[in-house]
């Protein structure tokens, strides 16, 4: 699929094949996936369990290498980067929000958010981390450890950490999967607000069709292939 007219593509996947496991346990997960996401678009990836949506997300984020095909993010062919270069690339261009938050348990909320900035060599890491936490409504919880925060608060910290380096692309894997409905709703609102505020490209994996419906575009996967693509209206029908 071509990028929207006048808007450059920020993610381009072309004929991506990926299998995982070894020997008899090897499973063919992505089967010739091609997808282009223009800059600034919110894309929802939906599909049944095992359809390959999380794997597709990881491939876009450079966390998984395809067996064949091309993955280009922000104009960079990820296949041309080594492991370390990929890590540095991620640190600069991609923010990731996980279903299970994955905060470092031995660090406070502020330290967790400051971590990617510190790794990038920012001198004002802690000031920026504090600002991000205030932005997600956790001004009072900055010095709490993850174990002292609720699930919703932990996910807010994780979102603040993901957006702190000001990435061009934000990817989220079932960000509300471990949260109750009302907390999940507030987290979704937060992600979309931040995305709007910063003009970032958002790729969201979810089982929740109503959440997917809030995206600009939805891609449905089945058995490792893109089954349908639709605008929000089409999916809502």
């Amino acid at each position: 699929m071509a990028a929207s007219e006048g808007t450059p593509a920020v993610i381009e996947l072309s004929d991506v094949e990926l299998s995982l496991g070894r020997g008899a346990a090897r499973v063919h997960i992505l089967k010739g996936v091609s997808l282009t996401i223009p800059q600034g678009q919110a894309t929802g990836l939906v599909g049944p369990s095992g359809s390959g949506k999380s794997t597709l997300l990881m491939t876009m984020a450079g966390l998984e290498r395809p067996d064949s095909g091309l993955v280009k993010v922000a104009g960079q062919d990820l296949g041309a980067l080594g492991e370390d270069a990929l890590a540095l690339f991620r640190g600069r261009h991609i923010g990731i929000v996980f279903q299970s938050f994955h905060l470092v348990p031995t660090m406070t909320a502020r330290e967790n958010v400051a971590l990617p900035l510190e790794l990038a060599g920012a001198d004002d890491a802690f000031e920026r981390a504090a600002a991000e936490l205030r932005n997600v409504g956790l001004a009072e919880r900055m010095d709490h450890y993850p174990a002292q925060l609720s699930g919703g608060e932990q996910q807010r910290v994780a979102i603040a950490r993901a957006v702190a380096p000001d990435p061009a692309i934000l990817v989220a894997d079932e960000p509300t999967g471990n949260l109750d409905e009302s907390t999940g709703r507030s987290i979704v609102d937060l992600i979309f607000a931040l995305r709007r505020e910063r003009g970032a490209t958002l790729v969201l994996v979810t089982h929740d069709l109503s959440l997917a419906a809030t995206c600009d575009r939805t891609v449905r996967l089945r058995a490792g292939r893109i089954e349908t693509e639709a605008g929000t209206e089409a999916l809502a029908i």
């Binding site: 450059p8 920020v10 995982l20 496991g21 070894r22 346990a25 800059q39 600034g40 999380s54 990881m58 984020a61 966390l63 998984e64 922000a74 104009g75 960079q76 041309a80 980067l81 492991e83 370390d84 270069a85 890590a87 540095l88 690339f89 991620r90 640190g91 600069r92 261009h93 990731i96 996980f98 299970s100 994955h102 905060l103 470092v104 348990p105 031995t106 660090m107 330290e111 971590l115 990617p116 510190e118 790794l119 990038a120 060599g121 950490r161 993901a162 380096p165 061009a168 894997d173 910063r198 003009g199 970032a200």
Partner: protein, 864 residues
């Protein structure tokens, strides 16, 4: 809003910035704030090993410094000039007196004859009026030395070691005969300032005046008396330069004196050498504790990496490279190592002070507990390198922890080897550890053997573990479910086999090595010797009384084997005109060149000798003087047949050609000498005789005590050394050394127990899960327990068997190659140690499980 994204330069070719140390430290410290949970065994292992090394080297430093500082006191002056058989000549005395105040002492072995109460060997020290020139002689009662030794009513005074009072049942004021002089024991000796310089004696000390010695009749031509002239440089002029000038002048102005010279900086070279040698042994034992503890370090780091897997993946997800992840956590691990090392250093540095306090009144050593920064730094270096060696490989695996672990459970364990640069760091750290062990070794050969043996044992233990796992895997599927489960547990991913085999194998190997050394040493000293060893050595038998002495022995011990040879003392002056000081001697043979040695002459080759090369001289040989040498000198001193050897005997330099080399069986304890000369070499020279008597019967006609009493009456000049007493003296020393070795080894064994307990505790969580699932599925506690017992016992028995074998080999090596004694293949002690180790393993393993099994599964399953 984001501007359209362009491929960034950094993205296409990002610079690999190494993680800044500051950032690594900050993040590592942040991670450690939560506490040191999981690092208990890690810290304890490092602390234990570093403590052992720091304590041994600090104590050794304290002793060496004490020796250095107290050199004047130990020597009795700034320099000491020793002569055997004779006093300094007037010319020599005048030379010494030009440089400072001279005092002399004479030392020799003799018999103290207490009449009906018996006779006992004593180490005589005859002093002049200025004794002690340095330090203080303490006596009980405390009186001026001159008063205690003065001649009163024809009786000389003496100060005796309390042991002599006890041995002869005497009290102060009683009189003994020394030779033909009557000596009243007026005080008991509390402390003697120059005791160490004299070395180990076989009898108690008796101090008397030189007048008394002269009156005793013991000073015969050839008697084994050592005269030492001590020079005390004038106050204010006793600089090192003045001392060096004295030593240099002694060589130049009195080249033929044949004296052995010691200076205050080198007051007790043998003692100093023994300290260094013993320090090395104990340091190696400490290093063993550290290496055993290294297994605990590796286990702890492996668990740390497993527990932190998701954190590593998170860091990578937010932009940290694999290298950064490893660098941050290696910094963290090394910080923890630093903490353990600091504990070890603190304990090790404190140990000499505690030792000094405890031994202050027991051991008469110039021990000055001191903070030894250099020694502590070396111990810390050992600790840091050990931590790095054992931590870097397991931590290196963190580099490639996939970020996908954050999205899905790992399908199969990651078996990738760490990247090459972590293996390079490992090799560099290992080389560093080997280098430190070699650089600071007293004897590099022993250090090298130790390193090779340690590396071999580690490799072998890994092979044993792999072999055991392969065996379990290939054992098929036994019908008994408990056995089936035990076998499966032995090789399943995350099995305890590797850690248990390493810690238990090393522990048992060490215990069993000690047991084999112990039994061999004890057998050597207590059982094997007396059967072939003489009962007595008799010294200083005047040549004129030799025949009478033979008759005396024949009456006292009819049928006993008596051997008597001429005996002199001589010092090697040069070989092929190269001065002895310039000859490069091996560690094992250096003693031959230092000081004087007993020498003899003989027409026939001595018993217990075998010709190694060259030929023995004809019975009536009359040609150029010849000498037969101990064959070890070929390698040890670089001697060869035909070399010209010059010895100083009775103040004369005498040269002889080396005619042959002999292999000598020293352990027979028969009479033998490093140097045996052809009879014509010393024709007409005054000398005494040395004799041995070897009893054929277990209970001789006369008791040893009666023989010594009779001897003291009939031959007052002859000294009898009872071999049993001498062996007991040696036994006591060996016992004390063995005690120190056992103490240090105890630390190594503690480390191995720590590692074992740590490995089992780490496996407990997996065991808990298994046990709960099994219980849920209907397994009885008996079934679960028997399965675990089978697993632990299986691993334990295999490790213990290996440990036994390795211990036997190591014990054999130390006993036959280092100690040069017979190996006694008595495995009793080793088997007891190995059995105890297996029992401890099974018990440790079951302690946690038993607690778990007594509870309902639901409570645990909720928490799993």
């Amino acid at each position: 809003m984001h501007a359209p994204v362009q491929p960034s330069a950094s993205a296409s070719g990002p610079a690999h910035r190494p993680v800044g140390l500051k950032l690594a430290l900050r993040l590592a410290w942040r991670d450690l704030r939560g506490g040191l949970r999981g690092f208990g065994v890690f810290i304890a292992c490092l602390a234990l090993g570093v403590m052992a090394i720091a304590a041994v080297s600090s104590a050794s430093r304290g002793l060496s410094e004490g020796l250095g500082r107290e050199g004047r006191r130990i020597l009795g002056g700034d320099a000491a000039f020793s002569l055997i058989h004779r006093e300094p000549t007037a010319e020599e005395y005048a030379f010494l007196a030009r440089h400072g105040r001279v005092s002399t002492i004479a030392t020799l072995r003799s018999m103290a004859n207490a009449g009906e109460k018996g006779a006992a060997l004593v180490e005589l020290k005859a002093v002049d009026g200025s004794y002690p020139s340095v330090g203080e002689l303490r006596t009980d009662p405390a009186q001026p030395t001159a008063d205690l030794l003065a001649l009163r009513d024809g009786v000389y005074g003496g100060i005796a070691d309390p042991v002599l009072f006890g041995r002869l049942d005497l009290k102060p004021g009683d009189t003994v005969l020394i030779g033909s002089a009557r000596v009243q024991l007026r005080a008991s000796l509390t402390s003697e300032p120059d005791k160490i310089a004299a070395g180990v004696g076989f009898g108690p000390r008796l101090i008397l005046s030189q007048e008394a010695l002269r009156a005793s009749g013991l000073l015969q031509p050839g008697s084994l008396v050592r005269w030492t002239a001590r020079v005390l440089l004038p106050e204010g002029a006793n600089t090192d330069a003045a001392l060096d000038a004295l030593l240099a002048n002694a060589g130049k102005e009195q080249p033929n004196a044949g004296w052995e010279i010691r200076s205050r900086g080198n007051a007790a070279p043998n003692f100093q050498r023994n300290i260094e040698r013993f320090t090395q042994f104990l340091t190696l034992v400490g290093l063993t504790a550290l290496l055993v503890g290294g297994v605990g370090v590796a286990n702890a780091v492996r668990r740390f990496v497993e527990a932190k897997r998701l954190d590593f993946a998170t860091l990578k997800a937010i932009g940290a490279t694999g290298g950064r992840v490893v660098a941050i956590h290696l910094t963290e691990v090394m910080l923890v190592a630093g903490f353990g090392i600091a504990i070890g250093l603190a304990l090790g540095a404190a140990a000499p002070f505690a030792l000094g306090y405890m031994l202050a009144d027991i051991v008469p050593l110039p021990f000055e507990p001191t903070l030894a920064p250099a020694e502590l730094a070396i111990a810390a270096l050992y600790g840091l390198l050990t931590a790095l060696v054992f931590a870097v490989i397991p931590l290196g695996r963190a580099h490639d922890v996939p970020v996908s672990a954050l999205f899905r459970d790992q399908i199969e364990p990651d078996r990738r080897q760490p990247r090459w640069h972590y293996r390079a760091i490992f090799l560099a750290a290992l080389a560093g550890l080997v280098g430190v062990a070699l650089v600071f070794a007293y004897d590099r050969r022993i250090a090298l053997i130790y390193i090779a043996a340690a590396g071999f044992v580690f490799l072998l233990l890994r092979l044993v573990a792999w072999g055991l796992m392969a065996l379990a895997r290939g054992a098929g599927r036994p019908k008994r479910p408990a056995l089936r489960m035990a076998l499966a547990n032995t090789y399943r991913p995350g099995a305890l086999t590797q850690s248990l085999v390493l810690s238990l194998g090393l522990g048992v190997a060490l215990l069993s090595t000690l047991a084999f050394i112990d039994v061999s040493l004890r057998r050597q000293l207590t059982q094997s010797l007396p059967q072939k060893a003489p009962s007595f050595f008799f010294l200083d038998i005047p040549n004129a009384q030799a025949a009478a002495f033979d008759r005396f022995l024949a009456e006292q011990r009819p049928g006993a084997h008596v051997e008597r040879v001429p005996m002199m003392r001589g010092r090697i002056v040069s070989v092929n005109d190269v001065p002895a000081e310039q000859i490069k001697a091996s560690e094992q043979m250096a003693w031959v060149l230092e000081g004087d040695r007993g020498i003899t002459y003989s027409a026939a080759m001595p018993e217990a000798s075998r010709l190694a090369s060259g030929e023995w001289w004809p019975e009536n040989y009359r040609g150029e003087p010849l000498v037969s040498f101990d064959a070890r000198a070929v390698e040890g001193l670089g001697l060869k047949l035909g070399d010209k050897l010059t010895v100083n005997v009775l103040g004369r330099n005498i040269s002889a050609r080396i005619a042959n080399f002999r292999d000598i069986e020293w352990r027979s304890l028969g009479i033998n000498f490093v140097m045996v000369f052809s009879p014509n070499t010393f024709a007409g020279a005054p000398h005494t005789n040395l004799a041995t008597v070897t009893d054929k019967d277990a209970t001789p006609v006369t008791s040893d005590a009666a023989l010594m009493r009779q001897l003291a009456i009939a031959f007052p000049a002859v000294t009898a050394v009872r071999v049993k007493d001498a062996l007991e003296a040696v036994n006591t020393i060996v016992g004390q050394l063995a005690g120190a070795i056992r103490g240090a080894s105890g630390l190594a064994i503690s480390a191995s127990l720590l590692v074992l307990a740590g490995a089992l505790a780490a496996g407990q969580r997996a065991r808990l899960y298994d046990a709960m699932i099994l219980k849920t599925l209907g397994a009885t506690r008996r079934f679960i327990l028997s399965s675990y017992i089978l697993e632990y016992a299986g691993i334990g028995v295999v490790s213990a068997l290996f440990g036994l074998l390795a211990g036997a080999v190591a014990g054999w090596g130390v006993v036959t190659q280092v100690m040069k004694i017979d190996f006694v293949p008595d495995p009793t002690g080793a088997i007891i140690a190995a059995t105890a180790a297996v029992v401890v393993t099974v018990m440790f393993g079951l302690i946690g499980t038993l607690q778990i099994l007594s509870k309902a599964p639901a409570s645990h399953l909720r928490n799993l």
